[in-house]
Symmetry: C2
Subunit: 141 residues, 2 copies
């Protein structure tokens, strides 16, 4: 994909607290610092470096993507523009708004993401085919 880099994705900062290297570190998400009330949370764990996940858009659901271990590349696409972000435990979390196609590429093994959603699970909210996504976008112009 060869598109202009201008989705203007919103970022959110959450502390990454290292108390003691041997004891690992905390990442803390206070509900008041999240962009919406939480209806659903999911974690993705143990994806091999180089693997891709996501590859869908949501019609209604907004998702905040947070990397709590390792490193991932988040690729967002609205059919006309594309934006990539590298996410790590030290980086900001990124809001993927409804109507945006998103993919995650796992850069490091043992990367972990936590995703906060403002909607409950609904299979009808997913668009899993990119051509279908472009047609859906076209209808909303």
């Amino acid at each position: 994909m060869d598109k202009i880099n201008s989705l203007y994705l919103q970022s959110f900062t959450f502390p990454c607290i290292v108390e003691d290297r041997k004891q690992g570190f905390l990442r803390v998400f206070e509900s008041g610092n999240l962009p919406f009330p939480i209806r659903r949370v999911f974690s993705v764990v143990n994806a091999k470096g180089g693997s891709r996940r996501g590859q869908h858009a949501h019609k209604i659901c907004n998702q905040l993507i947070c990397c709590v271990a390792g490193e991932i590349k988040l690729i967002c696409d609205d059919g006309e523009n594309q934006e990539e972000r590298i996410l790590s435990p030290e980086s900001e979390a990124v809001l993927v708004p409804s109507g945006v196609w998103a993919e995650q590429e796992y850069i490091k093994d043992n990367s972990v993401i936590i995703v906060f959603c403002d909607q409950s699970y609904d299979e009808n909210d997913y668009i899993r085919d990119y051509d279908e996504y472009l047609r859906w976008k076209e209808n909303y112009k």
Copy 2:
């Protein structure tokens, strides 16, 4: 500690979805399946095997402890009784109610826990000394 094993901790089941081994797995937490509305979420990542965390009680806050990678031992203590649970991505999540002393022992490297809380952060809600905890419990009998 040599106490009877009878805290009757409540457990909650959340799906662990493996779509493709290379792509890792999802753990999904729908708000309707959680025991309380979420006010705070934190993750603990990169604790070395054998290390211990927690070692405090909360006066008011209830916490649901979920292991999404690796394996941990959760040790809960109410001053008279003790209960241990091994948590993994395949196991249930355990509710640590307010007023219970809790510790987590990280059994495997790269273990990850996600903790859901029904309260925002408040340092005054923590009891970090076990003797002080026993005195606090004594006052509530």
